[in-house]
Subunit: 156 residues, 2 copies
């Protein structure tokens, strides 16, 4: 199974609400991850996407990009979000896509080195949500990865 | 029906996902609105509440407080969130409550005056989420209220 399919299975299994809001992993190319979400389960009274759903999809875009980075680096880690800011720039009136971008390679290398050395490292990630050719949402989140403790050696 | 029951009916009718995440209006006293949410529909792989759900509940706490303010002032307005910041301070391992606080009475009077005069006004609101006697989430959101246009006079 390729990384994107494993990511989507992980999202749906580990964060059940990601299935309820209809997230699917779209593409991961040139350092940009794309997640798709339908309007229908996320709609509000103004026939636009509910801000809480947009935030959830942006938060998961960052989480997912970091999951892919750690998967490529063959590191097993727990990922949590520490804080975020979000701007709702335009109403979202249809299905939408979130894009999350890799940081510079220097920043990424530094993050992975700290994680390997200290078992814990932070990374700031930017995401946007586009709809109807507008940038509808601008998001920035700070994530923390904690290396999983190595499994205890099995008893003889 | 009292204001809190009307608020809850409005939330569930106008923002369907608020029903899926189990939000109920708890109390509104001394300028503080309390919303409750159960862990079960909001759980993630670490048996804690998903950050996106915590953000959604905090966002709705601000939206709901502003709805109550406008209801008390007998103003009919559309409420949207413009931007927000959130800090996830502690994992939430059980059912949780969001509290949102009225700003100072000067700030509130100023907001209502601008809204009546310009049909549009902004208000910054703070919310927290508590769980297990910890402050688990600190949230600040900027909301915009737009007065509903008066209904067109009916044709004779």
């Amino acid at each position: 199974m390729d990384a994107l399919r494993r990511l989507q299975a992980t999202l749906h299994a580990e964060i059940p609400i990601s299935k309820d809001i209809g997230i699917s992993a779209g593409d991961y190319d040139n350092g940009c991850l794309v997640l798709h979400a339908p309007l229908a389960p996320n709609i509000n009274h103004k026939d636009t996407a509910f801000a809480g759903s947009l935030n959830a999809v942006a938060t998961l875009a960052g989480w997912s990009l970091l999951w892919l980075v750690l998967d490529e680096a063959a590191l097993s880690a727990k990922i949590v979000i520490q804080d975020s800011t979000i701007e709702y720039l335009h109403p979202v009136t249809g299905d939408f896509t979130a894009q999350c971008y890799l940081p510079s390679s220097d920043e990424l290398t530094r993050f992975l080195n700290i994680l390997r050395k200290k078992s814990r490292a932070r990374l700031q990630l930017q995401a946007t949500i586009a709809a109807d050719e507008h940038m509808a949402v601008r998001f920035s989140g700070r994530y923390v990865a904690h290396l999983a403790a190595p499994a205890a050696p099995s008893q003889p």
